[in-house]
């Protein structure tokens, strides 16, 4: 266990280092000057040059990178050029809205995707299965932003069931919190639900053809027990994979949905920072998202071991 832990820690550090280099190079090669953006199009060359110097942008990329890396090792992700706050503060403020959307979207996608996938497998070849597969295909085909705009028109503007925009923290009223999160979570979770449906369906169909399921049937086990006790449990590995990957996707991919519903999450922060080339914020936010991906992968490994005792955390299977 200790060996496994240090091995994963090593891989995590290496992964984040690689991400940090790629991220740093990409953000600094976008061809825009933050100093000009801060000062506006009426700025004089002298003022821009002065600000670049103060921002440290005139140093070589290597110097800037190691300065940033050194600051990170001291727990300092930098300070936003534009928002006059530390990146840690900004990420702290925007983490919860995105985390909430991701959790709710995950719940929605799992609650829809897994039962529908199981049902599609149960009714294989019948009209119910075809209908579920068609809905799943449709769900995967509809872009989240289109669904978001449609829902906004229908449920916010016409029916006025939900607020058009904004985020209410749970502490300020749970009902309002749920109202503000419902449509963004559906818009984000629905396409992913379709993916989980298809994954569950495929995994279930594979398991349903195995010998032990036939044996269970021959022994007279109930349909429910066959589906949920034997088949679903053995089909869980790909389902866990897609669910945890979805969670990471929700974190990194909520940019457009957060923009549409004006949710002050990490997506909105990244979007506004890219627009203003606020390097430290972009780098800090993407690094956090990368960390979430890494943690999601570690969780995946641990869950594999729990659902399938044959898999050990050493990565070897008996």
């Amino acid at each position: 266990m200790k060996k496994y832990f240090f091995k994963r820690l090593f891989y995590t550090i290496v992964t984040l280092l690689i991400v940090s280099v790629i991220l740093f190079v990409l953000t600094h090669c976008t061809g825009a000057d933050p100093a000009k953006l801060v000062l506006g199009i009426q700025a004089t060359p002298e003022a821009v040059e002065d600000l670049r110097e103060k921002m440290g942008l005139n140093d070589s990329l290597i110097v800037q990178y190691f300065r940033w890396l050194g600051d990170i090792l001291h727990g300092d992700l930098g300070t936003s050029y534009m928002k006059n706050k530390t990146v840690t503060e900004l990420l702290g403020e925007s983490f919860m809205p995105t985390f909430n959307i991701a959790i709710y979207a995950e719940i929605i996608s799992m609650c829809i995707g897994i039962p529908l996938g199981v049902l599609a497998a149960k009714y294989k070849g019948k009209s119910a299965s075809v209908a579920i597969s068609s809905v799943a295909l449709l769900g995967m085909s509809i872009p989240g932003f289109l669904l978001a705009l449609f829902m906004m028109m229908a449920f916010c503007v016409k029916l006025q069931w939900f607020p058009v925009a904004g985020y209410t923290p749970a502490m300020e009223g749970f009902l309002e919190h749920i109202r503000s999160m419902t449509l963004p979570a559906i818009a984000l979770g629905f396409p992913q639900a379709a993916l989980i449906t298809r994954t569950t369906n495929n995994a279930m169909l594979e398991v349903m053809n195995t010998e032990y399921i036939k044996t269970a049937k021959a022994k007279g086990a109930s349909e429910g027990a066959i589906l949920f006790k034997h088949a679903l449990r053995n089909a869980l590995i790909p389902i866990i994979t897609v669910c945890l990957q979805s969670f990471a996707v929700f974190f990194g991919g909520a940019v457009i949905i957060e923009q549409i519903f004006n949710i002050p999450g990490i997506g909105t922060l990244v979007f506004s920072s890219i627009s203003s080339r606020d390097y430290y914020v972009i780098q800090g936010a993407v690094l956090v998202i990368a960390l979430i991906y890494v943690v999601a992968n570690i969780l995946m490994d641990i869950l594999y071991g729990i659902v399938d005792p044959r898999i050990r955390i050493t990565g070897k299977s008996k």
């Binding site: 199009i41 003022a47 925009a165 004006n262």
Partner: protein
């Protein structure tokens, strides 16, 4: 902003004459405080008003922040010694009067007495001097102060500044719109000058409560506000009587969300509605729509590198441009653009030059073709740059590409996000910039043409030779005679167009909307909150 009557030029003349003669009385010290309750309106006054604002500014420092959004939000908190009224005329705000010496070098300001800051202190001459010197150091007016000129305290009620050259137009800089000369307590000004202010304490009708990045700015009514003794007429000058207890500027970058949120009443006011949605808004009886004239739109051609160094080719472009066609693509509703050849349109009565109309929208393709054929242009593909950030500019650029093709100029349109566009167009290389040949760009209004970056910065005018207009621009500052000054301004414009330094196309209004519960809303570079009432 509703379109203003433009027949008050005599006011400007009278003011300038009075200024040259001596003290300019701008009003006494009597004032009216803010009040939470309103009378004469039906329904209960809303406790909180939400403004869906389209842009989150890079800075809220009123001196260093150059965005229209910075000005629009912080003017609720800060005031200047001088401000522009609804007719774009300069009026006293925190001073009761000002004086300019006969030679135009010494400006002296008598401060209003008993003006409270939000922290409870009373404004002093020391605060004013410190604030104005901070502005002098970090605003684009640095050319005025490059020789070390400083504001000085004469006595507890008087401050002055002495220039080495006549500066008769200085009042327009002091009443400037973006990067404005906000007055704040001396202790709020960063000692090192390098950082921006961190405490937003001013004399305006609203107190700063909180800024939540990517979310909102919260303001609270300052009940002890003391304004000058004249009413506002839609601009920033005058007694800013406000009644709304709390105001939130919610940053909502998606135009559909701003519109939908106002339709449902989640927002009371929304800025920069898409021009495509104007018909929809006008059909909705629960919404009101306003024009907010903010930008002048120009065509710039690279005069340092490439084919547009040839003056005749630039002339060909000016002759060929059909601005009606351009606006038809960029502005589905014509009420939001105003085709004008004058550098400043007739919205600015003082600066409008009627003769300049002869240079715009000529649609003379035959003459333009001849000029292209006679030029050294070899038919190679030119770079026509635009940005995705401003759909109306992009739409006009696509039409311009076709119009240029008709006269034999072959252009490729390249569109970038705003950050990249800024870096591409203003790369500050004195040897020239090969990133573009031609582009359409809008610039926010400034209080006077002499403070326009276009006329003072070669990078903002695509490397046009500014020495052509340097002399008349300098003379504009050196005369107390209004007619003489305007004569020089006309000379500047004639040179701009005869030398084909730029092409002025139109002025652009942004569309602001509000619910029908909002009354007396004016727009002046963003929604103006003084005098506004909002009922439940």
């Amino acid at each position: 902003m509703k379109r203003r009557e433009l027949t008050k030029k005599f006011i400007a003349v009278a003011l300038t004459a009075a200024m040259a003669l001596g003290f300019t009385a701008c009003g006494g010290n009597s004032s009216t405080g803010n009040q939470k309750d309103t009378s004469g309106t039906s329904g209960t006054t809303k406790e909180e008003v939400h403004i869906a604002y389209n842009a989150e500014p890079e800075s809220f420092d009123p001196v260093k922040g150059t965005a229209v959004a910075t000005r629009s939000i912080t003017r609720n908190v800060f005031e200047g010694l001088l401000e522009l009224d609804g007719e774009y005329e300069v009026q006293c705000q925190l001073c009761s009067s000002y004086e300019v010496s006969e030679d135009g070098k010494i400006w002296t300001f008598k401060l209003r007495e008993g003006v409270p800051f939000h922290n409870g202190d009373t404004m002093t001459a020391d605060d004013v001097v410190a604030s104005l010197n901070y502005w002098a150091d970090f605003n684009s007016t640095s050319e005025y102060f490059a020789d070390g000129t400083r504001f000085e305290k004469i006595d507890d009620k008087t401050v002055s500044v002495t220039f080495s050259e006549p500066k008769f137009l200085f009042k327009y800089f002091l009443a400037g719109q973006t990067g404005f000369a906000a007055i704040m307590p001396e202790e709020c000004i960063p000692a090192d000058g390098e950082t921006s202010i961190s405490e937003y304490i001013g004399t305006g009708p609203y107190k700063w409560v909180e800024y939540k990045p990517t979310q909102y700015v919260e303001l609270e009514l300052f009940e002890d506000y003391v304004g000058p003794d004249f009413e506002c007429n839609g601009g920033d000058a005058g007694n800013r009587i406000c009644t709304i207890p709390k105001v939130y500027y919610d940053f909502v970058t998606d135009a559909t969300t701003r519109l939908s949120g106002t339709t449902t009443g989640q927002y009371d006011i929304a800025t920069n509605i898409s021009y495509d949605n104007i018909a929809q808004v006008e059909a909705d009886k629960t919404l009101q729509i306003y024009q907010d004239w903010q930008f002048s739109v120009f065509i710039f051609m690279n005069q340092k590198l490439g084919v547009f160094q040839d003056e005749n080719l630039r002339k060909a472009v000016r002759l060929a441009v059909d601005v009606d066609e351009l606006t038809a693509s960029g502005f589905p509703d014509k009420n939001y653009c105003k085709i004008t050849g004058s550098f400043d349109s007739d919205i600015f009565p003082t600066w409008y030059v009627k003769d300049a109309e002869a240079y715009v929208n000529q649609k003379n393709t035959e003459e333009a073709k001849k000029l292209v054929e006679a030029s050294s242009y070899d038919g190679s593909e030119l770079k026509l740059i635009t940005t995705d950030a401003y759909p109306e500019l992009k739409a006009m650029t696509m039409v311009l590409q076709q119009q240029l093709k008709e006269i034999g100029i072959n252009c490729k349109v390249e569109s970038y996000d705003w950050a990249t566009t800024v870096s591409m167009l203003w790369n500050f290389d004195p040897e020239g910039n090969s990133n573009y040949d031609i582009y359409i760009m809008s610039y926010p209004y400034v209080s006077s043409p002499v403070s326009s970056a276009i006329l003072t910065n070669q990078y903002s005018i695509a490397y046009a030779d500014l020495s052509n207009i340097a002399e008349p621009l300098e003379k504009m500052q050196s005369t107390a005679d209004e007619n003489e000054m305007l004569g020089y301004w006309k000379e500047v414009q004639t040179t701009l167009y005869e030398k084909e330094m730029l092409i002025k196309l139109l002025d652009e209004a942004c569309a602001t909307i509000s619910t029908d519960k909002v009354q007396n809303l004016d727009n002046f570079g963003g929604p103006v909150l003084w005098g506004v009432t909002v009922t439940e």
